[in-house]
Symmetry: C2
Subunit: 260 residues, 2 copies
């Protein structure tokens, strides 16, 4: 377990390539964000997609074309301050890179979207189980059969994360996560996974399967990976996203964006 550091210190380590691993659990208490960068000519439609689907795509910050310094982290540079990125071209995955200075140009727009790391801290504080943390795995993610509202050319099925817990814990989890409306908020489903088109919980579409105990039910939250599916649902010349778990760490505190 690394000692905790400030968001600025963490971003400086990442920028100088001294930190190349996932950001989960680091700079605890500060908002981490999903990143999507895409051509300015489709920026309105993609912003519209996020506005119409706020549960999976809660907007934390959007920058003008060519800008790389977010409002939520002055002095940061989105081209260098995430530990790992994914490059897509014409809708196809191309490569992982640690710096996108050679890929981002003045005609691209950057979107920062909320991430469930924010409410996981609050769930732990409330004594709720985060099974993937207990088992040192990535959270289980599934593509559901629920279509998001489309916008312009962008469409996607809703992607969800799943955390198993008892019904009593699920009720408490609804209360705890409701406050975090800009980081996915309350669950979108609980119980029978077939109701949302998930056939087998042991075979997630992304991340790892986790143990579900006999007295537990699966609880599902909207997931920011939905934004990646939407951004790559169209054969754009180039799309850049963070690599899973390798998020942008902002200067906002998790609590800054809560409603209550």
């Amino acid at each position: 377990m690394k000692p905790d550091i400030s968001p600025q210190e963490l971003r400086n380590l990442i920028r100088s390539r001294q930190w190349t691993t996932p950001t989960s659990g680091s700079a605890s208490g500060y908002l981490q964000a999903n990143l999507v960068m895409l051509p300015a000519e489709e920026a309105f439609n993609f912003l519209l997609f996020c506005v119409r689907n706020p549960k999976p795509c809660p907007i934390l910050d959007v920058l003008e074309p060519g800008q790389t310094e977010p409002i939520i982290a002055p002095d940061a540079d989105l081209r260098t301050d995430l530990p790992r990125y994914k490059i897509f071209e014409n809708g196809e995955y191309k490569s992982d890179v640690e710096d996108v200075s050679d890929y981002f140009d003045a005609d691209m727009v950057s979107f920062l979207l909320g991430c469930s790391f924010s409410f996981e801290n609050a769930m732990v504080a409330a004594g709720l189980p985060i099974r993937n943390m207990e088992e040192d795995k990535n959270v289980s993610m599934y593509i559901t059969n629920k279509p998001c509202l489309p916008a312009g050319p962008f469409s996607a099925k809703l992607v969800v994360t799943m955390r198993p817990m008892t019904p009593e814990q699920a009720i408490r989890a609804v209360q705890v996560t409701t406050r975090f409306h800009l980081t996915h908020g309350a669950p979108v489903h609980l119980g029978d996974p077939h109701k949302i088109g998930i056939e087998d919980l042991d075979r997630p579409d992304f991340g790892d399967a986790v143990t579900i105990k006999p007295d537990e039910i699966p609880v599902f939250w909207a997931c920011g990976v939905t934004s990646q599916l939407a951004a790559t649902s169209v054969p754009l010349a180039r799309v850049i996203t963070h690599a899973p778990g390798h998020m942008f760490v902002s200067d906002l505190r998790d609590e800054d964006l809560t409603i209550l």
Copy 2:
């Protein structure tokens, strides 16, 4: 007092010009919205302005260029279903009209933004005073000295509405309005108006002055008129907005968008 009617019935009356007066207090319980229409080439920047300033400009719906049927009211037509509109050209007010079919074209984008009518119903239900209703006036609105976050070419000072009440009522009003985060939510200020650049409460910038009793303090909420100032802060070829009080009435209920 007109008998209450459904949003669909109200929009049909408006469309056929049988209703040309303000919508406040009608189709009670249904979300009413501010309207801004502007050229598609600036739609991304204006959407960005709204995203960056969610308290005065909470986004309820945004349509693709040329579209006039909102998601939040299928079968409605934004060109005909508001009782009165304002036309601006090159940043200057031009005229009021009752139908914008001759002004809206395929290259314009429509924005529907939340309105404080939603939380006023909840305030009345909680026994809180709405002085302008008691005195049959328009709510008092003031341009503050607090700049919104700019986006592209758009900028504006924050506009606020003011409702006087006792400190005890103000505390309850914070609780009641916090739930309505997409219709301006909690107040932005209470007490000394000079702190936010308001020189004289008896001289509002829009609407009417109301009585403030000796035991009362002014309580200030972010106001959707901010979006009109922002849209007309740039000399765009054409901007269309609703006329004050003559809102778009949607099929969503006020409660549909509350957090808790």
